[in-house]
């Protein structure tokens, strides 16, 4: 394999890890809590701004702004749960879409209003440099993002499938009232789920900010892919999102390299439709 | 025979829920299906009604092979069923639930409405016709399921514990209803744990255990079978018998 091709594949894998990272919070909320969060991309956008402004105002690096973004977003998650999601959960599924869509516009344009439409970037040396292994260049920032994506998804997966907390959160999303009969406080569980999901999104946003640009509409750019990643992987399956993210990353890179960049999305969407045609529950989903 | 099942088998992964079952249902009869919990009765029903495609075996309905046909074609051929775990259209009214069934044989709304009203009347749901179906309790939902199934004007009606959760009086009323349905020419297959129902309704009873048939015959024969007593009836038999005798006597 030529070094360039190898580089394309490595680039695709790292990109895929970023997708997985980006999608982790969405999987939790969409797959587990059964709420479609149209504002997910905007959560990421806010996390990116937290990172940017932390750097611009206080200075410091990812070690400072990543936890800050996680914390800020976790708080936002809890606020959004109580302010928006909880009231609409009683209504039909469309009400959730309505609510989170309104929220998306609200957040996006509040950022727009507060920070203007200007593009911003963190300096190149936040997570500096790149290293060469076997003729293939690895960009440190993306490698870090990839590793964090892996850890985060594994952590979330274990949390959801292996712990009491995960089982309780799932119970609440399955049948809120029955969960209450078990002595579970549904609001607390949901708030924790939102805090976790939004916190993970915060980590994702902060790390992505180290190699991406920041603008009020940046969430839109990545959101559609995140939605595809989550459904391709199978709703509620955290490992599914990881695999789907990596798969889409590699396919995008290879198809952009071989067939043409215009068609890479066409290919991804077509692949997605074909997968659903063969496996209506996504790669790892349960029927 | 209206229904002839041969070697019907249903596997879930490594678990065989229904194991090579042969069963005949004679036209115009009431056939009872009993057996311990998890014996495979509902699974077998799902095979009959087309909800599951059996892993093996053949099912003939009025001489025609139907295993593997869709549930909707089963309904159109004249096979209607109720679910043990009710599947009500909760956002619709009780009357509209029945309308959905009635539309199978009546294209026009007015005709369907008339047919549905008749069914509602017959099943005693007329009073609640305008209530939302979500206000019904389990027993009410089950009755609604019978009404809905009846509205499709079936040849055979598969009742999966449709009488569970009724009081004694109501059971009597329900038995009368089922008899009435039967008299109107509908063949009935019924799964029920309330022996009183089986004893007073069924012409022929089949007993499932671990996915196989362990006994078959008239209610009297079956309840006298020690295998059935052991696996299913236990000591309650005497009581049940007594009650059934009272009921029919």
């Amino acid at each position: 394999m030529s070094p360039i091709l190898l580089q394309v594949i490595v680039g695709g894998l790292l990109l895929g890890a970023v997708y997985a990272l980006f999608s982790s919070g969405l999987t939790l909320i969409w797959g587990m809590m059964n709420v479609v969060n149209f504002a997910h991309g905007d959560f990421v956008m806010l996390a990116m701004y937290v990172a940017f402004w932390t750097w611009a105002i206080i200075g410091g690096g990812p070690l400072l702004f990543t936890p800050l973004a996680a914390f800020a977003l976790a708080v936002l998650g809890v606020v959004v749960y109580f302010g928006v999601v909880k009231p609409v959960m009683g209504g039909p599924m469309l009400a959730q879409m309505l609510g989170t869509f309104g929220l998306a516009l609200f957040l996006r344009y509040s950022a727009f209003w507060a920070f203007t439409a200007n593009f911003r970037t963190l300096p190149e040396d936040m997570i500096p440099g790149s290293f060469v292994v076997g003729g293939v260049r690895f960009e440190a920032a993306k490698v870090v993002a990839g590793i964090v994506a892996l850890l985060l998804t594994i952590g979330l997966h274990l949390l959801l499938t292996k712990t009491r907390l995960g089982s309780r959160m799932l119970a609440v999303s399955e049948d809120r009232q029955a969960a209450m009969l078990m002595g579970i406080r549904p609001d607390r569980m949901q708030a924790i789920a939102w805090a976790l999901a939004a916190g993970a999104t915060g980590v994702a946003g902060a790390l992505i900010a180290t190699f991406f640009y920041v603008s009020p509409t940046v969430g839109e750019t990545l959101a559609v892919i995140a939605f595809v990643v989550v459904s391709l992987g199978g709703f509620g399956s955290v490992p599914g999102a990881l695999v789907a993210g990596l798969l889409i990353g590699v396919i995008e890179s290879l198809s952009a390299f071989w067939i043409g960049a215009v068609y890479k999305d066409v290919l991804v969407y077509a692949l997605f439709l074909v997968v659903l045609w063969v496996r209506p529950q996504g790669l790892f989903g349960k029927l | 025979m209206l229904i002839e099942a041969r070697g019907v088998t249903m596997r879930f992964g490594g678990f065989t829920a229904v194991d090579a079952v042969d069963l005949d249902v004679a036209e115009g009869r009431i056939t009872g299906l009993i057996g311990p919990n998890g014996a495979g009765k509902s699974t077998f029903f799902n095979c009959l009604a087309g909800d599951y495609r059996p892993s093996a075996g053949s099912i003939r309905f009025a001489g025609r092979e139907i295993a593997g046909l869709t549930p909707e074609s089963h309904a159109r051929l004249g096979m209607a069923r109720t679910y043990q775990v009710p599947h009500t259209f909760t956002d619709m009214s009780v009357g509209d639930n029945v309308m959905v069934g009635a539309f199978l044989r009546h294209r026009r709304t007015a005709d369907a409405r008339r047919a549905a009203d008749a069914v509602l009347e017959r099943t005693g749901l007329a009073g609640q016709a305008r209530h939302r179906a979500s206000s019904l309790g389990t027993a009410g939902r089950k009755r609604l399921e019978i009404a809905r199934a009846l509205a499709t004007e079936p040849k055979v009606l598969l009742l999966d514990e449709a009488l569970a959760g009724l009081t004694a009086t109501e059971i009597q009323a329900a038995i009368t209803l089922v008899r009435d349905i039967h008299r109107s020419g509908i063949t009935i297959v019924i799964v029920e744990h309330i022996m009183e129902v089986i004893l007073s309704l069924a012409d022929r009873v089949t007993v499932f255990h671990h996915g196989r048939i362990i006994s078959q015959g008239t209610p009297g024969e079956v309840t006298g079978d020690p295998k059935v007593v052991e696996a299913y009836l236990g000591r309650s038999l005497e009581r049940q018998r007594q009650r059934a005798a009272e009921a029919s006597g």
Binding site: L94, L98, D265, L273 | R76, F89, F103
Partner: protein, 313 residues
């Protein structure tokens, strides 16, 4: 009572633009009706059958591009492309419906998103459709058939007639077998099947009908606006708007989408007019905030709230 309210509403609809004249407001009224048509069309599959499509803009695009192509390729008046657009939409619905309608819930929704994005990208590369640049209608009207008017009133009444037709159809469908079947499918596909409903077929019918009417809205859009490009013709945001309007008013109800459009379109146009010029994004903060508030305080849609008042009074 209900009949009286309806009569009053119709009367208002007919005379409204004559009373509140002003070219801009007439246009807002016309646009409101146009989006009401699209949202009501979406409602057939998304509201009644409960299959939430976020890809409906492709059917809108069929209509818009159909009308545009009639002009750009054959020099016909755009409206002559309506049958082409509707035909294409219905055909496309049939083609994509078969594989996607098997999917349940969110998977269907996501499949429609993927489909819409896929088609948007493809349209951007098809020269006959103007590729990325887009297609325009006749710049200067050649005959009355170009339906190119300076005033928005003719559009208003045209759209009103179409909307009335669509609502009448929906009203009839609600009461027919189809309506019952769709609601049953929304309730429980499994139970619907057991009652003999060919679920796949009915969902497909609903999608095709919905697609056809959405395409009508698309063609009317082109007639009025005179230009379509991949973003405005097949951009996902428009799908979301159809959904939002229906949900806001009350999905699966006859007048829900219309009420949603009555709120959202004027809100969008007027907030843009009042606040847009500042360029600070406040328009959308307000717009998003209002949607958010309605969702939070009236999750069942405005119609549910009105129904509540109705019962009380």
């Amino acid at each position: 009572m209900a009949r009286f309210v309806l009569a009053v509403a119709i009367a208002i609809a007919l005379v409204f633009p004559l009373v509140f004249s002003g070219a801009f407001y007439e246009r807002v009224a016309a646009l409101t009706l146009l989006y009401a048509i699209a949202a009501s069309a979406w409602n057939l599959i998304g509201g009644y059958a409960g299959q939430v499509s976020v890809g409906h803009v492709v059917f809108f695009g069929c209509g818009a591009y159909g009308a545009a192509v009639a002009y750009s390729e054959w020099g016909l008046p755009p409206i002559a492309g309506l049958p082409l657009g509707v035909g294409a939409a219905v055909l496309l619905a049939a083609l994509v419906g078969v594989p996607t309608l098997r999917l349940s819930g969110h998977y269907f929704t996501m499949a429609t998103v993927a489909l819409a994005e896929l088609i948007r990208i493809l349209v951007g590369n098809v020269p006959v459709l103007g590729a990325a640049v887009g297609l325009m209608g006749p710049a200067v009207p050649r005959s009355v058939w170009d339906l190119s008017f300076t005033s928005s009133l003719p559009y208003y009444y045209l759209f009103l007639a179409v909307l009335a037709g669509l609502l009448l159809f929906t009203w009839w469908m609600e009461r027919s077998r189809m309506g019952f079947y769709l609601r049953a499918i929304k309730g429980s596909e499994r139970a619907a099947r057991s009652l003999g409903i060919p679920v796949g077929r009915y969902k497909l019918y609903a999608l095709m009908l919905s697609a056809g009417f959405t395409a009508v809205a698309g063609a009317l859009y082109l007639v009025m606006v005179g230009f379509v490009d991949p973003d405005s013709g097949v951009g996902i945001l428009l799908s979301v708007k159809m959904l939002i309007m229906a949900a806001l008013g009350g999905a699966g109800t006859l007048f829900g989408p219309l009420i949603g459009a009555l709120i959202l379109v004027p809100l969008e146009e007027i907030s843009n007019s009042l606040l847009g010029g500042q360029g600070s994004g406040v328009t959308f903060v307000v717009y998003g905030g209002i949607i958010l508030l309605i969702a939070v305080f009236q999750p069942g849609g405005i119609l549910a709230m009105v129904a509540g008042w109705w019962r009380k009074s």
